[in-house]
């Protein structure tokens, strides 16, 4: 029986999950402290949590519920996005529980299982629980086996839903991703697995679909007839920080290209889904991921880079090889640029230039669609010298928004033309700040909305793009670039060979 008090037209009433528990493995980690616990507070503050809701922390600590609650209080208060209100916290207090133990400790997982059963009655959470894996991938199999052994992952046995949330990296190549997917899908059912790509929780990323499919202005020119090329940039000004061990084994291509950037590409390039249903959107994304073609000669169509020492944002930055924990002879890339193609009628012949890197001049993520120049310019050639490609830029972060760049006459007595930018910023037109990506995604997991989560097939298909590149790069050394520069010279040359240049993002 549907809820008679809810009506799709009643949009004042927020979407609220069913009563449930959020079980966080690795609750003492960075992600849990800085993102997940604050996100729970923010959701509570916005009134988006059900009456029966429990956060159940799991970590190797000798804590009682009170200690955990205190720790959660401090971190939620320090990192919450929305204003702090004690009465909101008071509602969460008493609903934060902790189970201590190691991942291979059978007794600890038995306790966890028992606790979930008890909470069913004491806190009215029903049989519903989402397990959030905020842990290193190496620990996944152990925890999954524990969940399978205790039957905690079994929807039927629990009389509710049991969902699992995994963070990237989803494997390190196709075969490891497949093994991981098989394992997760084996313990949980495929549709209960939520892979978090936090980029997809960002407003602008969702706005790509609105921009493309709700307007009649852009779709007619969204193809190889009008589009010259597409540039997708994800630049970070920070270095690898304390993640040397992870990063050196991973590299930029596996870290961000495989997930964030290919997902952005899929959203920009996919065909219109039949409906906004999760499975329809996934089907279209998968189709376009399958159509991706690699450069014929990977060495010519891709560039890897590694940062040297330099200056970023007024501060001295260490070179990658000098970072603590990085081997002196490391050949891991901190920058990658690649020219991809999409083999379908819409995009044949349009290059998709994708770049990502650390220690670049500023933090920015954007998708720029560069349109072809006008076939004929009835102006004096000197008047149009400053005229570039028309561009539509979707800025993902920071300052989420959309920029349209086109030529215009410079006021004055001569017919001089120059590019100008029409800038739409979310913050300016709608709201000061949109919800943090994790807030949105945690809520979607609890509600069971899979729209913003890539599925196993997409993850595997993305590895099919990355694997041949990694193979070709075996034994090569990345090009050096100074910290605070827009990547190695070779990346500029790669575009220059085709008569193009990178947009200064």
């Amino acid at each position: 029986m549907g809820n008679p008090l809810r009506d799709p037209q009643d949009r004042r009433l927020p979407r609220i999950p069913e009563p449930c528990a959020l079980v966080i493995f690795g609750v003492t980690g960075d992600l849990a402290r800085k993102k997940l616990l604050p996100a729970v507070y923010d959701l509570a503050n916005r009134g988006l949590l059900p009456p029966g809701f429990v956060v159940l922390g799991f970590a190797r600590r000798d804590w009682d519920h009170g200690t955990f609650e205190q720790m959660a209080y401090e971190h939620a208060k320090a990192h919450a996005r929305t204003p702090w209100r004690e009465e909101v916290w008071a509602r969460l207090a008493g609903n934060l529980k902790f189970v201590g133990g190691a991942f291979d400790d059978d007794a600890a997982f038995d306790t966890l299982d028992r606790t979930l059963d008890e909470l069913r009655d004491t806190h009215g959470i029903g049989g519903n629980a989402a397990f959030y894996f905020s842990i290193p991938p190496a620990a996944f199999p152990t925890v999954l086996k524990q969940l399978a052994r205790t039957g905690m992952a079994d929807n039927e046995k629990c009389g509710g839903w049991r969902r699992v949330v995994v963070e990237k990296p989803f494997g390190t190549d196709l075969s490891s991703a497949k093994a991981l997917n098989d394992l997760v899908d084996d313990v949980f059912t495929g549709q209960d697995v939520f892979r978090i790509d936090h980029y997809l929780g960002k407003e602008t990323v969702q706005n790509i679909m609105a921009l493309r499919f709700a307007n009649s202005l852009f779709e007619p020119v969204w193809n190889s007839k009008y589009v010259d090329s597409v540039q997708i940039t994800m630049a970070e000004d920070v270095g690898i920080g304390t993640r040397a061990g992870f990063y050196d084994a991973t590299g930029t291509a596996r870290d961000v290209l495989q997930n964030h950037l290919l997902q952005l590409l899929a959203l920009v390039a996919m065909e219109e889904p039949t409906s906004f249903d999760a499975s329809e959107i996934r089907a279209e994304k998968l189709k376009v991921l399958r159509a991706i073609s690699l450069p014929k000669d990977i060495h010519e169509g891709s560039v890897r880079g590694q940062y040297l020492q330099g200056w970023v944002a007024g501060e001295r930055a260490k070179g990658y090889l000098d970072e603590e924990g990085v081997p002196e002879d490391s050949t891991t890339e901190t920058y990658v640029a690649v020219r991809l193609g999409i083999q379908n009628r819409r995009w044949a012949g349009v290059p998709f230039y994708i770049r990502a890197g650390k220690r670049l001049p500023r933090r920015v993520t954007e998708v720029a669609v560069l349109f072809k120049k006008a076939p004929h310019l009835p102006f004096n050639p000197t008047d149009v010298e400053a005229l570039g490609h028309n561009q539509l830029v979707i800025r993902v972060q920071p300052d989420e928004g959309v920029v349209l760049k086109f030529g215009s006459k410079v006021p004055g007595t001569t017919m001089e033309l120059r590019d100008i930018a029409m800038d739409f910023q979310y913050g300016e037109a709608f709201t000061e700040q949109s919800p943090e990506a994790y807030e949105r995604l945690v809520l979607d997991v609890l509600i069971g909305d899979r729209t913003l989560f890539p599925d196993a097939a997409e993850v595997e298909q993305s590895w099919q793009v990355i694997d041949p590149m990694e193979e070709a790069w075996q034994g090569t050394k990345p090009e050096p670039y100074r910290s605070g520069e827009w990547g190695p010279r070779a990346a500029d040359e790669m575009l220059a060979r085709e008569g193009r240049h990178w947009r200064r993002a």
Binding site: E428, A429, E432
Partner: protein, 345 residues
């Protein structure tokens, strides 16, 4: 900030353009114009609310203070604020005196952002007929607040009589948190509700709308139990067919949720400042059918949603009305009769 004393509408338009230009970097991403109709003594209150609302919905804020209709001299004073004190918005606070105050739209219309929605909010006693106020006629969304009326219940009934799609009332906005908690309680319930009891002060329009909403959604006739002990709505309880009773009771900024056979639960039920309520209103710019249903169920006026969206302005001169107190002009069916210039002032 620019202050313009004894000025004209055109001067205000020019000064706003100049101020935008000198503020620099002000792009034209304005998504709406908000007209606030307010009396002099409540301007500060309205500004405080608008500051909160505009921080969530940047807009062009046009605050209109009208007074002294009988004054022989017309006068317009305007204050222009771009960014700063009133949050991320472009604000024009206008004070109009004399006969000009009856033609506020002549100053306001050129200041509206082209082709984006217009919202008008009356901070004070709601107008009897919105059609009498051109600032309401021009708006796509109209927000009244029956909570501020002298006789709040009859003001609410008047809102039903005068309703057009696109109207809402802050008394309705005020119960969104209540409705959220009630709907949340229902998610786990699969039994029929047979009755409801609402405990609230007799003159509380929010309780009236709550009863209308429950009646419309559940097909029951909720009982309103008047209380003098609490200043605001105190509790809502629902009786189910299987004998269970769900009760939601407000205690300060918390609500206690009790259900037969379950432990009591405390949930936040925070009273929001007016600005937050206004911000909720600005989130949706289409008509609120659920409000129409609740209002219609409470006031017993049917087919509110079928009424035309656009009102036609009906000229009404408050000066003449006060001179002839016996006159009861039936709402003129004809189009507006604009005041002739020769008889003016």
């Amino acid at each position: 900030m620019i202050g313009l004393w004894d000025t004209t509408g055109n001067e205000v338009v020019k000064a706003l353009a100049a101020e935008r230009r000198s503020a620099g970097g002000v792009a034209s991403g304005m998504a709406l114009s908000l007209i606030v109709v307010v009396d002099e003594k409540r301007v500060r209150e309205a500004e405080a609310a608008a500051t909160i609302a505009t921080s969530q919905h940047p807009c062009r804020l046009l605050m209109v203070v009208r007074s002294d209709f009988e004054r022989p001299i017309n006068r317009l004073d305007a204050e222009i604020v771009v960014g700063g004190r009133l949050g991320p918005c472009e604000a024009v606070v206008m004070r109009m005196y004399g006969r000009l105050a009856l033609h506020a739209e002549s100053v306001v219309m050129p200041l509206l952002v082209p082709d984006v929605p217009v919202v008008t909010w009356w901070h004070g006693e709601p107008p009897e007929l919105i059609a009498n106020d051109f600032l309401g006629v021009v708006a796509d969304r109209r927000i009244t607040d029956t909570g501020q009326a002298d006789d709040r219940i009859s003001a609410l009934r008047q809102r039903a009589a005068d309703y057009a799609p696109g109207d809402t009332d802050l008394a309705w906005t005020r119960i969104t948190p209540w409705r959220t908690l009630l709907a949340g309680a229902f998610d786990t319930l699969d039994t029929k509700v047979t009755g409801a009891t609402i405990v609230a002060p007799a003159s509380d329009p929010t309780a009236a709308l709550m009863s209308g909403w429950l009646a419309a959604r559940l097909g029951i006739q909720p009982r309103l139990e008047a209380t003098a002990d609490f200043p605001r709505m105190r509790s809502v309880s629902l009786q189910c067919a299987n004998g269970e009773v769900l009760t939601l009771t407000r205690e300060d900024s918390m609500a206690t949720f009790a259900r037969t056979g379950h432990a009591e639960r405390n949930l936040p039920l925070v009273r929001r400042p007016t600005g937050e309520e206004l911000a909720e209103e600005l989130r949706r710019l289409d008509s609120d059918q659920i409000y129409a249903e609740a209002l219609s169920a409470y006031a017993g006026v049917s087919d509110l949603d079928g009424r035309p969206h656009k009102r036609v302005h009906i000229w009404k001169d408050p000066v003449l009305a006060s001179r002839t107190p016996v006159a009861t002009p039936a709402p003129a069916p004809a189009a507006s009769t604009p005041e002739g210039g020769s008889t003016d002032g």
